[in-house]
């Protein structure tokens, strides 16, 4: 009998595949430097992964994109109605925008003390959205510098995350620098947070630079726009983002997670859910590494996740200090910090746990107040206190994804 396939043919095919692989797989660092973009120049744009995976179905990815579209609507509204100067570009794996708006009153982290509006200041905001789904990317280190035509730095500094009645963003109040044109240089460090999803979680591994050119600030324009971000229309758009996030949240606790519960507690909406233990990407040095160990043994056999939203608009609250305590029959199993976890369709705080066996547990969640400013007068009573709340009878089924 003649064999349909012969060994030399197979070896030849293997050799061709190896050679082809060497040609097709390109050097990841071949693109360096700044490239022209629609708003100036920046790190070469690249769309992050947005594909079905172990962690996300197509419909779940669309839910994330709905959230991103709601953020996009907020950005468009702010640029049109509340910003004296704005611009946008694709840079690296982000959709970046800056908005210069009137300074507003703000509340310091964990405090109800109102800092009055500084009439001599403007608010520089940088909106960092995921280049694939448009969601705001939390947990970033953002720095900016405003440079005039002569190359002198007019203002520079870190832009911490801030809560706004509309369009949460990175920003700070800077002295008004009327005139221009300026160049606004924005640098985003590679975030250190963990990322779920073996396919889609491999993102944001590099620093990103964006330079918005031709930035002009019309003198007197800021005063005319003061207070607009607190309008009912702005609040409606912010709530639309919260509603889109709510659909993802109910998808998680209704379909994806083993079990989950939602609870309103003061100014917060808190969600606690349980999945199977799962891997995630972590930054090691300057590169991402997928830690698959959580899927390879039962040393951790459950994934406890918590999400916190502001009850006013339903938007996600990043950068919180979150701790969870598991209890069974009133006996404490343990307490663990729940670090922020990037997720392809529902950001959350989460950690892999070891529980003795499947069953019903109580989850006590502790949240510190947000460690960032809340801008705008409508935040008067918002999120000034830490909370402790207990989710009773949460079903945990052990396993590893």
């Amino acid at each position: 009998m003649r064999y349909p396939v012969r060994l030399p043919s197979v070896l030849w095919c293997i050799s061709v595949c190896i050679v082809a692989g060497c040609v097709v797989i390109r050097n990841p660092n071949f693109q360096t430097g700044l490239h022209p973009t629609e708003g100036g120049r920046g790190t070469a744009p690249m769309a992050p992964s947005w594909t079905e995976s172990e962690e996300a179905t197509a419909s779940q990815l669309r839910m994330a994109r709905d959230i991103g579209m709601a953020v996009g609507a907020e950005l468009a509204w702010v640029r049109t109605n509340a910003a004296v100067s704005s611009g946008a570009m694709h840079a690296g794996e982000y959709d970046l925008a800056y908005v210069i708006t009137p300074a507003t009153a703000w509340y310091a982290a964990g405090s109800g003390d109102l800092h009055p509006r500084d009439a001599a200041a403007m608010h520089l905001g940088v909106v960092v959205r995921d280049g694939a789904d448009g969601r705001t990317v939390p947990g970033l280190r953002v720095r900016a510098a405003l440079v005039d035509g002569a190359g002198r730095t007019v203002a520079a500094g870190a832009l911490p995350f801030g809560w706004h009645p509309i369009l949460n963003r990175y920003g700070d109040d800077w002295p008004i620098a009327a005139g221009g044109p300026y160049t606004l240089r924005v640098v985003i460090g590679a975030p250190r947070f963990r990322r779920h999803d073996p396919t889609n979680g491999d993102r944001f591994a590099d620093s990103t630079v964006a330079e918005f050119t031709g930035v002009t600030i019309a003198p007197g324009g800021l005063a005319a726009l003061a207070g607009r971000e607190g309008s009912p229309e702005a609040l409606r758009l912010a709530r639309a983002e919260g509603a889109a996030l709510g659909r993802s949240m109910y998808e998680m606790i209704g379909s994806e997670a083993v079990n989950g519960q939602v609870m309103r507690y003061g100014d917060y909406l808190v969600i606690a859910g349980v999945e199977f233990s799962e891997g995630y990407w972590t930054m090691r040095g300057s590169s991402l590494h997928y830690d698959v160990s959580f899927e390879q043994s039962a040393a951790r056999n459950a994934h406890v996740e918590v999400a916190a939203l502001d009850a006013l608009t339903g938007r996600f609250l990043p950068d919180l200090n979150v701790r969870a305590t598991l209890l069974r029959d009133g006996r404490e199993i343990g307490t663990m910090a729940q670090p922020f976890m990037w997720h392809p369709w529902l950001y959350h705080y989460g950690e892999n746990w070891r529980v003795p066996h499947s069953g019903y547990y109580d989850i006590r969640v502790h949240l510190d107040a947000p460690p960032y400013r809340r801008y705008g007068p409508i935040t008067a009573s918002l999120m000034t206190q830490p909370i402790d709340t207990v989710f009773r009878g949460v079903k945990i089924v052990t396993g590893e994804k």
Partner: protein, 273 residues
């Protein structure tokens, strides 16, 4: 008068055929892979090279090695494997098999190609299902037929214990010296996965004769392995085991070692660039 020699010749022919069949069955049993597959497979862009060694430490069986009938005892099989995740659900594997027969040098004997596909996400079904299709291409001088094997992979976690079941069927092509047909096999494993570094377990393997035949249980190749997965340096996995033959059709003692390394050569972000 002349009937007796004819009967003897007929019996001798029958005995020869049975012996040839026994040798063929022995050789296919020898080609058996001592690994029970689970639902997990390389993620997209992950490369998993592995080196398999199987030592037939104690055996009174024989098999066909490049036309010679040689004793199994002391033989060592070597396999170099490369697995690659095409997508998160689809993976491919390539194998190069070699053998060292007692008193002889190393010989490359065959290559194998595998496609694996796993369904759903883990735990969506009671058993996590996957399929595995393997095609064997032996060297022409090596006395074995080309074969295609289809394996169903099922696994389920009972808290810290993972049960994996691998029923399979195999279609063997006919050659001048080997009779083809469809054969069945079954393997299963239970591993205690409580800890990451060391996971002890047991594995069970059996091969059926041609489908439709009903051999005695004692005539089947059945063996059980005491095995362990040892993980170290994060990406290295060493699966070792000692197998004991449960029937006369199996080798008495078999020692296996599968040393593998898993790493994401082409991370998703790099692929997109």
């Amino acid at each position: 008068m002349s009937g007796a020699p004819r009967t003897h010749r007929r019996n001798a022919c029958r005995a020869g055929v049975l012996l040839a069949l026994a040798i063929v069955l022995a050789s296919t049993a020898h080609a058996q892979e001592f690994s029970v597959y689970e639902w997990e497979q390389p993620y997209e862009g992950w490369l998993e090279p592995a080196y398999w060694t199987t030592w037939f430490a104690n055996s009174d069986r024989a098999w066909q090695h490049f036309g010679d009938s040689v004793r199994m005892q002391g033989a060592v099989r070597h396999t170099a494997e490369v697995g690659y995740g095409i997508t998160d659900n689809l993976a491919t594997e390539l194998y190069l098999d070699g053998e060292t027969a007692p008193g002889e040098g190393f010989h490359l004997i065959q290559t194998k190609g595998v496609l694996r596909y796993h369904f759903f996400q883990r735990y969506v079904r009671y058993f996590n299902p996957a399929i595995y299709v393997e095609y064997y291409v032996p060297r022409k001088r090596y006395q074995a037929a080309q074969r295609v094997e289809a394996r169903l992979i099922l696994d389920h976690d009972f808290n810290d214990v993972r049960l994996a079941l691998n029923p399979s069927i195999e279609r063997r092509m006919s050659t001048d010296s080997v009779r083809g047909g469809v054969f069945g096999a079954f393997s299963g494993s239970m591993y205690w996965r409580r800890h990451y570094a060391v996971q002890p377990g047991v594995e069970y393997y059996t091969e059926f004769e041609q489908l439709g035949a009903s051999p005695r249980a004692g005539a089947l190749d059945q063996r059980i392995f005491a095995a362990a997965n040892i993980r170290f340096a994060e990406r290295f996995v060493w699966n070792i085991g000692v197998g004991y033959g449960l029937t006369n059709a199996a080798d008495r003692v078999t020692v296996k070692s599968i040393f593998s390394y898993e790493f994401p050569t082409a991370s998703p972000a790099n692929v997109r660039r």
